[in-house]
Symmetry: C2
Subunit: 339 residues, 2 copies
């Protein structure tokens, strides 16, 4: 592998050719795939198109000392599929924009692309086009994902109503604990368990859950946790013109993350709420939708869905801990630090 030529050795067109050879010949709804000025796809009949783009930047979103090409290729698509899932949209097509430093090994590019395409295949998503350019410094990997949803099945952020229950999928905090250890290798609390680091390196988009919530009309508002649960709750509340009361004791904090936060002298609740890079979904659903939620649960295997709070008519975000109400800790900003 270390004998691999570099991107600079083979040139932009050869990289595109290698990607093209790896993409399956036929994808659902693909009229023209990679190789023309633009891709041509056929929208699902009577459906809306759902569009999202998210970029990973070396030194900002990942560090080559901690993330393998497989991690990067996987995550670049996952963060986009997570946005589609949060809208209740089924992923269909993707575009990949790579800005590649000339010194990258072709073998590493291949590995990154293979991970991207393996995940695309798992979610029946076809890579239909993209762009490969040189990069003077950092690797930048931009992905656009296009999904499909029926009009009345789209999950926005603004539909939450008072008395809705707030749910979150999976567990929270593991990615934040994993990231903390990556940032500081000699952390006095010691390294967090591999499980936490894996959560940060290899997020999994909740595609099945998002699509099931949309198709069953089981949620009134939905958002992913890319910037943390605190941020998601804040945005749903703002868009819907409501407040949210979170129950700290109900939060499904990943047990290994909780242990590590405590060892590190951090408040597990605050750290888990603030921590980004959990690609779970937060959504609200009134008690009357319990039957619809049962249908959803049948589709998602053993992924837990935990009620963590309630939507309130009076605005404001509070968290109840030990019988006391506190304001929710603030969210996350890219420019305040490297994530």
């Amino acid at each position: 592998m270390r004998n691999s030529p570099t991107v600079g050795d083979i040139g932009e067109h050869a990289v595109i050719q290698r990607i093209r050879e790896r993409v399956p010949a036929h994808g659902k709804g693909v009229v023209t795939g990679i190789g023309d000025d633009a891709a041509v796809v056929e929208p699902d009949r009577g459906a809306l198109s759902v569009l999202t783009t998210d970029t990973l930047v070396e030194g900002v979103h990942f560090d080559l000392a901690h993330s393998s090409p497989t991690d990067i290729g996987n995550k670049a698509l996952a963060v986009n599929l997570s946005d589609l899932a949060a809208m209740g949209a089924a992923p269909r097509h993707a575009l990949l924009a790579l800005s590649l430093p000339a010194g990258w090994l072709v073998a590493d590019v291949d590995e990154m692309i293979d991970a991207f395409l393996a995940q695309a295949a798992r979610h029946r998503t076809t890579l239909v086009g993209g762009d490969v350019t040189a990069a003077p410094g950092a690797l930048v990997i931009g992905v656009t994902a296009i999904g499909s949803a029926k009009r009345r099945r789209v999950l926005g952020r603004d539909g939450a109503r008072p008395e809705d229950i707030v749910y979150v999928s999976g567990a929270i905090g593991a990615a934040a604990a994993g990231l903390a250890s990556l940032r500081q290798a000699d952390h006095p609390a010691g390294p967090p368990p591999e499980e936490c680091r894996r959560h940060h390196r290899r997020p999994e988009a909740r595609v099945t859950l998002g699509v099931a919530l949309g198709r069953n009309r089981a949620a009134r508002a939905c958002m992913d946790l890319s910037d943390g649960l605190g941020d998601a709750v804040r945005r749903i509340a703002a868009a819907s013109g409501v407040g949210v009361q979170v129950d700290a004791e109900a939060l499904p904090i990943h047990p290994e993350a909780r242990t590590w936060f405590e060892r590190a002298g951090l408040d597990p609740v605050a750290a888990s709420l603030a921590g980004g890079d959990d690609y779970e979904l937060a959504f609200t659903s009134p008690p009357a939708f319990r039957g619809r939620l049962r249908h959803v649960r049948r589709r998602i295997g053993d992924l837990p869905i935990t009620p963590i709070g309630i939507v309130t008519k009076e605005p404001g975000l509070r968290i109840r801990r030990g019988g006391k109400d506190e304001p929710l800790p603030p969210g996350y900003e890219h420019f305040t630090g490297v994530d």
Copy 2:
């Protein structure tokens, strides 16, 4: 303006908010614009979606010493609209992914966004979403454009047939001459005319022409000249399984570019064929389509369309100069130099 705060001062969310405030409230086909996990758009009834993404990287595609924020914002969208035009697609929606160094002035970001949105408005394109992240070094601006075309109106690269006439719009070579002068400020041939530098800095996508060619079914194959006319002809020939014979004397080389190339001791024909960043369209059309082309000409004002060669049954790319056939000079590769 120099008193402007920086991107690092105000943070990612504030940049997104500034963009959001600049986007018109209503766009055709927009169900959900900026501000949710993903955008939701309604495809035109019975039409296909045409998708393209192109990224501009500081130090690769532009240099802040020569390009203003307005130039960059304008070009980032133009190169994408050009790809849609080459497919015969009308632009509808766009996504913008900005990786911004923290030291950028907010006033410069505003200027870049304003240029992007002004051009979007000229082509009835709505910005529906995007992503703003920090960048450790270079500015990276990635755009995805989504267009619309009827199934039998899409212009591919593979439809050229023997006896088709090869046409090119506008003039070629000006961007290449403009770029040469940017690369070497003290060029012995002196600076090229401002007109050439403007061509490189402010390309104009041939949206009206591309859409008219598609709607009138006036072209069998079409491509833009982002990597030069030589490259476009080569790719159309390869995709269509044909050859092309170009007539050097017929090439619409920009007169000021020709003069500068000659002063610089360069062959104007070779330099204009190899030079990228001309965002004109090359297309092929049989003599029987002359009536359809007349309809197209009526739509495009004074933009010239020049026949420059003919499609041949035997493969191979030749150029006829002074009664002699030569092979076409090769195209352009990003990794072989900074464009």
